[in-house]
């Protein structure tokens, strides 16, 4: 896909995703049924679960492309990892800022060590490490390799982190806890949830393509500048 094609696809995807989000918001406010025990507060579920999912997806893409980058040394793979990591960090930030705010409004507490939020917080820090390491080396090539290592180890660690956070939480159950979404969901909730997941994923992929295209342009510009001085 050419640069322009990527930008067009990216914009289209992101646009579609945003429309999807509008749909999700209207559905969750006006259409979907209210959960029995938690009431209206539960509807944050339709934003938080997809946001967490998208962060995981971004992480996975970043780690996979990082691994391929270390193996094949193709700059494009590193650019993809960068784009994914940025996207992931953005979604994580959104989730981490809206989560506590919602918690305060709905239940009176900002932070309850909810496993989803906690895992996202830790992923946010791993992403932070990714960028810090990437930008703090003398030789930029080294920074890219270091960042790739951070992404890979982070991805390997995430299952452990999630298990430990969930286990810890199960020991200290909080009355104000988001109901686990494993038991069968009523059909209407499922529809809204899936629509939301789909929309979030489209927004993420759209942003990912745009960011990747931008980075490709930047790399091309740097290469031309170097040839001019050589």
């Amino acid at each position: 896909m050419s640069g322009k094609g990527m930008r067009l696809t990216g914009t289209a995807l992101a646009g579609l995703g945003l429309l999807g989000m509008l749909l999700v918001y209207s559905l969750s406010f006006f259409w979907v049924s209210t959960e029995l025990s938690q009431g209206v507060a539960q509807r944050i579920f339709y934003v938080h679960v997809p946001a967490a999912w998208t962060t995981f997806l971004a992480f996975g893409i970043a780690a996979f492309t990082s691994g391929m980058y270390l193996w094949l040394r193709d700059e494009r793979l590193d650019r993809a990892a960068l784009a994914a990591a940025e996207g992931g960090m953005i979604f994580a930030t959104i989730m981490l800022t809206t989560g506590p705010l919602w918690g305060k409004i709905a239940w009176g507490t900002y932070w309850t060590w909810d496993p989803r939020l906690t895992s996202t917080l830790l992923m946010w820090f791993i992403f932070l490490g990714y960028f810090m390491v990437r930008n703090s080396t003398e030789n930029p090539e080294k920074g890219k390799r270091f960042a790739a290592v951070v992404a890979i180890v982070g991805a390997l660690d995430i299952p452990f982190i999630h298990l430990s956070v969930v286990w810890f939480r199960s020991l200290h159950p909080d009355p104000i806890v988001l109901k686990p979404d494993r038991p069968s969901l009523p059909a209407d909730m499922l529809i809204v949830l899936l629509t939301s997941v789909l929309s979030f994923t489209m927004i993420f992929l759209g942003l990912f393509l745009l960011r990747y295209a931008l980075e490709t342009l930047r790399a091309g510009q740097q290469a031309r500048a170097r040839e001019a001085t050589a």
């Binding site: 270390l70 830790l122 992923m123 820090f125 791993i126 932070l128 490490g129 810090m132 390491v133 703090s136 080396t137 003398e138 080294k142 920074g143 390799r145 270091f146 790739a148 290592v149 951070v150 890979i152 180890v153 982070g154 390997l156 660690d157 452990f160 982190i161 298990l163 430990s164 956070v165 286990w167 810890f168 020991l171």
Partner: protein, 226 residues
């Protein structure tokens, strides 16, 4: 295979020999352990909380912070005269270098962690609990996981402008499982719970340590190449 193990041994032995000569890291880590326990004592109101209730967590936090001191300097030994270059240019596979360094770091940290437990028992009147061997195992597995990731990222951070200050930022999120399962197992053992209740935690610690050592072995070469 024996040549490979011999190379790992040579590197680990060299590190420990250097540590014996300079005693830099072990003194720093040991002093930290004792002082941390003292500070914790003064930071707790004993009329409100029993040290035994939070002892396991404090022990693991002390081990982690103290461990950072030690593992952060693991590549300083080689930095002085560029010795790491010399080792990298030798026929030793990069994963063997990693394993050798991890081994020596493990020995150091394990000794210090035993010291930490002893100090906390002394200062806070805690008992060894249900099963000292299990406790020793939990400490060993936790220390191994910590040290493996710590060695890998110490190599990373020493190649950056920020140096060691970057290490906690990189390591802490990744070490959550070690803290959760390690302190979880330790807390239960110290408060007299049966061994069956900690087996799950021990298994997780072992799986984590395995992941950390494997990941470090594979990825180290990408960190040290130039």
């Amino acid at each position: 295979m024996s040549a490979y193990l011999g190379q790992i041994g040579a590197i680990a032995w060299k590190d420990l020999l250097l540590e014996l000569r300079t005693r830099e890291r072990v003194v720093a880590m040991g002093a930290f352990a004792v002082l941390a326990a003292v500070l914790f004592n003064y930071s707790i109101d004993r009329t409100v909380v029993r040290p035994q209730d939070i002892g396991a967590g404090l022990i693991w936090m002390t081990i982690v912070f103290g461990g950072l001191l030690g593992v952060g300097r693991t590549f300083h030994l080689e930095a002085e005269d560029g010795a790491l270059q010399g080792v990298l240019m030798s026929p030793v596979p990069k994963d063997a270098i990693f394993l050798g360094k991890t081994l020596s770091n493990f020995v150091l940290l394990y000794i210090v962690s035993l010291l930490v437990v002893a100090v906390f028992m002394l200062f806070f009147g805690m008992e060894l609990g249900t099963s000292p061997p299990m406790l020793a195992l939990a400490l060993a597995l936790g220390a191994l996981g910590f040290v493996a990731l710590g060695t890998l990222f110490a190599a990373v951070s020493s190649g950056t402008r920020m140096g060691e200050t970057l290490l906690p930022i990189l390591l802490f999120p990744l070490l959550i499982p070690v803290i959760v399962f390690g302190a979880g197992a330790t807390g239960r053992l110290l408060s007299g719970r049966p061994v069956s209740e900690v087996v799950g935690n021990i298994r997780m610690l072992a799986a984590f340590a395995l992941m950390a050592v494997a990941a470090g072995s594979v990825l180290f070469r990408f960190v040290v190449e130039d």
